[in-house]
Structures are given as structure tokens and as C-alpha cells.
Symmetry: C2
Subunit: 428 residues, 2 copies
């Protein structure tokens, strides 16, 4: 793949091969899809030394290039992490198989039978950043659901990814399947990303896994349907009727349990009637974790009057349009439920938003009016996750409206076809 | 809307108003959505003279501009057609309401309740050509499902569409809803189409209804998810085991019952072992309707040897990549089922393809391998239609893989949100 670096990678050829492979995958019984996953888990174990060696080269280069320790840690494979990937791959075998399910059966007035069958989507283009585990995750979920994939990871993990894809392709070959079912775009030329986004003749869906810039690039350039998402400006609204003690726990969990992820809390809205009580209490709890508060004037006044140990600064102009991904929290006092809803409608990215209340009517109104992929009542926003939702896996979190919203699992890697069975039926 | 033709229409303002209106629509009970449809049907009847007068001006201009009689007919409103639109609008009231349905209920191990609710998509951008009835169709289906819409029709029907949208907005106003729920982009500036395609801050889905050029433009330029479709290069394969008499009927129906539409037959594939019998028979039947055949060499040889009255010419290089939309049919002889499948995989647009066979194993293999929105056994491709499929309505026919495939009815104008109900639940 990288022998002819002077010649640009022929992405059309990769696409054509992926489409052909997808046709083979699409008609496989589950047993054969599972056989390749079992083989992949075995190969990951058998070739661990080689994988760790390639990864060590990536990590060395990354360190030399001055990557942060956090980034180096995401890049790193260890014997334990590799064993975890093999175990995850085996677990996917046991997940329910969505492919082939037939449903929505009907018989038309003319006697023709009609139903839907769930089928793989075809070829997925997945663009992700420096995490080699994504290569195995995505390949595993694609193969489970009979999809082919073109993968493009971050340049910092090129050696790791090429080694992992070689292992995947060996598993495919060992089980009699085309190596081209999972292919990696190893040429570092960035123009290939744009080219991939226009390969609509062969690629059926683009999944970007990365920051806002990557999602924007995909939206702008892709002629292929894109699952945009993963960007969460998430809100919790503490209603006047909220159980304030529990509310402190929920806000703490949503903000600090894992601040670097998309379903972590970004903005806290508090009803004016409970603000003087609640804000100092929640600030004191958040201060234990070193959370910095960015408060609009009314919240700022209350927070500056109290003693709670948290760092508080005035909210800037765009602080309520920030996905913090860190220990920072925007705070705002609102006069009414409607003001809270209006703020969320204006600033939310439609990922995860919640209300903390004991008032059923307020909960119902919030659920109706807040149009996010996941809407919570008295719960942390951190639950928006394929594993937490019981989907068994997560490919991406969608914040657009079509196909799937929120966590996408195996079912969301399938589509359906209509099947009509007649007996010489013609349309009248 | 057209008073300040010197100033370009502010599409962002329209988008913002549409999004605000969509929030009102999204929380309406069915009774209020139905009230506006009833009011619309009444207004269409009450203001028929005005609508017909505006339409007559469009038709006069179209005739002066040299539009074909076929196009003028599509453009024309008559008292009967208007009455039909009013009746259709009333019928939509009685269709099952997909909005608000709650499903996929689960209780997580921690006791949190989780379920999905079907909700409107939000704001639809619909771009269509010279058929004023589409204005009412789309508005009706959007209002039924609680969606707002920005409409952009063909310039030939501008007066008709402005008059129709005025009627729709009057019905909205009469029933206490925002007029901005359905808005029309009346400025003829073509740049506004491209601008609409980039209005992703407010528009959730683009539905193009028109030819291949329009679909391609939307794919290229849109930053909003697009439902591409409506282009059908449709195939029927006559297997060696087919009931040939019935096959003649099915091919005839698929080709001639309405040749100008996307689900009409474009290419006929015939197994070599039955070609000498079947081709002259089907040619004779098609000759009655004036169908012209474009045959590859093997089919050509058989057809030129027989007497059947049909016009036959050699197939050109791209004749198997044509959506004919007219009384032309590509014809090809194949040696095997696999060759038929391979031809379809190569040339189909994934709309509607079928096999005519009495061999169950062949039918099963065809269904498995042909990845089209609708796959038929012993039936005409003409069935791919929301009305025929019992969906009650049709917004578009999708040939892409995400969200919906084939005919899209009311359910496909909705999406879902996840709702999580906790009791102070936090993620462990």
C-alpha cells in the first residue's frame, strides 16, 4: 500500500473493491460473519508483539513531535489494551444480529406480499483521529453487520493502523473472505479525505469521529450522506421544584465524571427561586473537582456573594456556545421554565439535555419542547452512550435528524429493502 | 414577498422563522394539526376562482414561452384538479398519525426508564419542478406530521404557487398557527437554491423532487442531509424457469403502464435458454404500444430474425445506463442468473428491480444479491409507490441507504428522540 509513495493512492480502485466486497459480505450467513470476528480476536492475540512494536514506533514519533501526554495515552496500545480489543471483538459475536430480520409484512389488496428486510448499508467511510482502537472497533462492528469499510485514521497512528488492518485482512483471508472488505487509506495526502467524501459511486455512508472541524469538513464537502454528531453542548435545567440535594449529585456527575466527552455537561441553568440556595451548594461540590464556573450576571452575583471555593468568572459572549470538554461550566439563572427551554433551543447542539424537577407537568413540557437526541428527566446527561443504553456497541452519536439519533449501535449500521412477492402481478 | 424585487430575499430570516414555527408545530396535538388541514381544504374550495385565475396566467406565459403540451398539462390546474387537491387534503387527516408514538421501552439495570418517541423532523426544504399540486401535497404532509417547510417550485408556476401558499398561510392563520410554518421562496434568483442547501442552521432535511440534475446539485452543494432518489434505472430479469405468458404481461405493464415515471422498466434481461421464445413474444406485445427496443448483439440477432412489429435498433454504449422515461426499452440476453445479477449491480440505480421465475432458489438468490430499495419476484416494478405500498401518501422515493428507502410516507417524515426518566440517576 505504501510502496509507491510517488504515485497517489487510487481511491476509486479501493472504492470499487470495497463495493464488490460488500456484496459478498451482504449475503453471508451470521456464522461466517462471526467466524471472521473469532479469527480476528485470535490474530490480535497471536500477533500482539508485532502490533505493540509498530505502535511503539508511533508513540516514539509522537513523543518526539511533542504530542501531549493525554494524546500519547490515547495513541498507546499495551498488552492489556490489545487483550481488551480481542475480548471486545469476541463479545460482538454474541450481540443480537440485526441483519436479515424481516418485518412490516403486509398483503396488498391485489394479493401481492410485501415486507421489509434489514440489510447492511454497504460501504462505510470512517474518518477518525489518533486512536488505534477505533480501527478494531469499527472493523468489528462493520463485519458483524456485513458492511465493508474504508478507514482513514490520524497520521500519528499510521503504523499502528496499518498493522491492525493487516491483522484484520489476515483474519478475512483465513476465513475465505475478501481482504478488501476492510481497507485503510494509508497515503497521508490530505486531499484523499476530500476525495473519499466524494466517492458516492461506492461509499454509502460517511462516519466522522473527531472534533467539530472534521464534522464541518464532512458536511461541507461530502456528496455521501454523513452522520454528523459527537458535538454536545449539553444542558441541565434545575427547576424550582427540583430535589436540590439530588440535583447537586446529578450536576456533579454530568460535569466531572468524564469531562472530556461529548455528553458531559456544558451549561447549568437554574431557576431564580432556587438559585440562591442551589448555586453555592453546587459550586462547593464542583470546587472539589476544580471546576471553573463562567457565570452570567445574575448567577455571578449569587456566586460571588457565597463562599464555596469554586473559581467564578463572568461568562464571555460565546461561553454558552462552548462544548467545554474540560472542567469548565457555564452557569445561568433563568426566570421560568420557558426561558430555560428557549436558552436550550438556541444554544444546544441537540445531543443531550435534561431537566431536574419534581413537577410532572414541567417534565412533560420540557420533553416536548427540547428537541435533542436524548432528553432526560432527573438524570445525568452522561447516559447518552450505546453501552449505557443497552445497544451493546456504539459506532457514533448522531446529532442530525435522519436515519438515527443519539447512540448508533449495530441496528443503525443496517438499512432495509422492500421485498415484493407476486404471482405475475401488474399494476392496474 | 415580491414587493422588493431589488433586494435579495433574506433566506436566513425565512429559515429562522421556519425553525421557530416548527417548534410550535412539534408540540401540537393531532387535533390542531388536523384542524389546519380541514381549513386548508375549505380555503382551496372557497378561493378556487382566484387560484385558477393565477394558474391561467402561468399557463398563458408557459404557452407563450413555448412549453410543450405535456409540460403545460402538468402545470395546469382545473376545477376538478383543485377539488381533487381539497379531497386529498381531507384524506390525509384520516391517515394514521405517526407523531408522538412511544416505543422501544426499556429499564436500564440502574432503574432508569428509557424509550423513544417519534417526533417531527423539524424544517424541510423541498425543491421541485413545475407542478403546483406538489405545493399542496408537501404542505399537507408536512403539517400532518408537525414539520415546517421552505418550498421552492419551478419558475413556470410561480403565480400558482404564490397563490396556493397564500391559501395555506390563510388556513394556518385561521387556525391560530404561524403563517411561517409553510413558506415559499418566491424570488426567482437561482442562487437562492444553493443558499437554501446551505441553511443547515435551520433546515433539517432537503427533499429534491425533479430530474437527475436537481438531485446531483443537491448532493454536490447541500450541507443538509438530502433524500436523493426518484431516478430509477429499473430491471426485470426473465429467468429460464419463468412463466413466459405471465412474464409478457408483467414486462408490458412495467414498461407501458406509465412510461414517464421512475419505476417504469428500463432494461429487460432474458436468460439465453428462453430468449428465442420470449423475445419475439414480448416484442410483439410491446409493439402494440409503440415501444422501441435497444438490443445488445445476442438479443438483436433474435429480434431481427423474428416478426413482431417492434422497432429494434442496436443498443448504444450507454443505453443500459439510461432512465428512459419514455417508450424505449433496453434488451439483453444473459447466460446465467449471476450474469443478470451482475448486470443489475452494475447498472441499477437501486430503485426497483425484479426477477420473473418459478424457481424458488433463484428468487431467493436474486432477493439476497440485488440491493435495491424494492426487489420484486414475479411482479411489475410499477408497484414502488407510497399509495401502492399502503403508506397512504408519498413524499419522495429514496434510492439512498440512510433514513428511508423506496417510497417515503408520513412515518418517514418523522424521526425519534430518546427520553430518559430517572430519579436522580448518575452514571457510575
Amino acid at each position: 500500500m505504501s510502496t509507491l509513495q510517488t504515485e497517489r493512492l487510487n481511491l476509486t480502485a479501493l472504492g470499487r473493491a470495497a463495493k464488490a466486497a460488500s456484496r459478498t459480505l451482504a449475503t453471508l450467513p451470521a456464522a461466517r460473519r462471526h467466524a471472521v470476528l473469532a479469527a480476528l480476536a485470535d490474530e490480535l492475540e497471536r500477533r500482539a508483539d508485532e502490533l505493540l512494536a509498530q505502535n511503539a514506533l508511533d508513540v516514539d514519533d509522537g513523543r518526539a513531535a511533542g504530542l501531549s501526554e493525554a494524546l500519547l495515552d490515547r495513541l498507546l496500545l499495551t498488552p492489556e489494551r490489545l487483550a481488551g480489543l480481542a475480548a471486545d471483538t469476541r463479545r460482538v459475536i454474541d450481540l443480537p444480529d440485526p441483519v436479515g430480520r424481516e418485518y412490516d409484512h403486509r398483503t396488498l389488496p391485489n394479493g401481492m406480499r410485501l415486507y421489509k428486510r434489514r440489510v447492511p448499508i454497504g460501504v462505510l467511510g470512517v474518518i477518525y483521529e489518533a486512536r488505534p482502537n477505533v480501527t478494531i472497533d469499527i472493523a468489528t462492528l462493520c463485519l458483524k453487520t456485513g458492511n465493508a469499510a474504508l478507514l482513514r485514521g490520524g497520521s500519528e497512528t499510521l503504523r499502528s493502523n496499518l498493522a491492525l488492518v493487516d491483522v484484520i485482512q489476515a483474519a478475512l483471508e483465513r476465513t475465505g473472505l475478501p481482504r478488501t472488505a476492510i481497507q485503510y487509506i494509508g497515503d497521508p495526502d490530505r486531499a484523499l479525505v476530500t476525495e473519499l467524501l466524494r466517492l458516492d459511486a461506492y461509499v454509502d455512508m460517511i462516519i466522522p469521529r473527531g472534533g467539530a472541524g472534521l464534522h464541518q469538513l464532512c458536511k461541507e464537502k461530502s456528496t455521501i450522506p454523513v452522520i454528523t454528531g459527537g458535538i454536545g453542548i449539553c444542558h441541565l435545567y434545575v427547576d424550582e421544584s427540583a430535589d436540590l440535594e439530588r440535583a447537586v449529585d446529578v450536576v456533579e456527575n454530568a460535569k466531572v465524571q468524564r469531562p472530556s466527552v461529548c455528553n458531559a455537561l456544558d451549561t447549568l441553568l437554574v431557576h431564580r427561586s432556587v438559585a440562591a440556595t442551589f448555586l453555592p451548594a453546587v459550586a462547593a461540590r464542583l470546587a472539589r473537582h476544580g471546576v471553573e464556573l463562567r457565570a452570567e450576571p445574575a448567577a455571578l452575583e449569587i456566586l460571588q456573594a457565597g463562599t464555596h471555593g469554586a473559581s467564578v468568572t463572568p461568562a464571555g459572549l460565546y461561553d454558552f456556545d462552548q462544548e467545554w470538554l474540560s472542567l469548565v461550566l457555564g452557569v445561568k439563572v433563568v426566570d421560568t421554565l420557558d426561558e430555560a427551554i428557549a436558552h436550550i433551543q438556541e444554544h444546544s447542539t441537540g445531543h443531550s439535555d435534561g431537566i431536574l424537577t419534581t413537577n410532572q407537568a414541567h417534565a412533560a413540557r420540557f420533553i416536548d419542547a427540547v428537541d435533542s437526541a436524548a432528553v432526560y428527566v432527573n438524570a445525568s446527561t452522561r447516559f447518552t452512550d450505546g453501552g449505557q443504553f443497552g445497544l451493546g456497541a456504539e459506532v457514533a452519536v448522531s446529532t442530525q435528524k435522519l436515519h438515527a439519533r443519539g447512540p448508533m449501535g449495530l441496528e443503525e449500521l443496517t438499512t432495509y429493502k422492500w421485498i415484493g412477492i407476486g404471482d405475475g402481478h401488474v399494476r392496474a
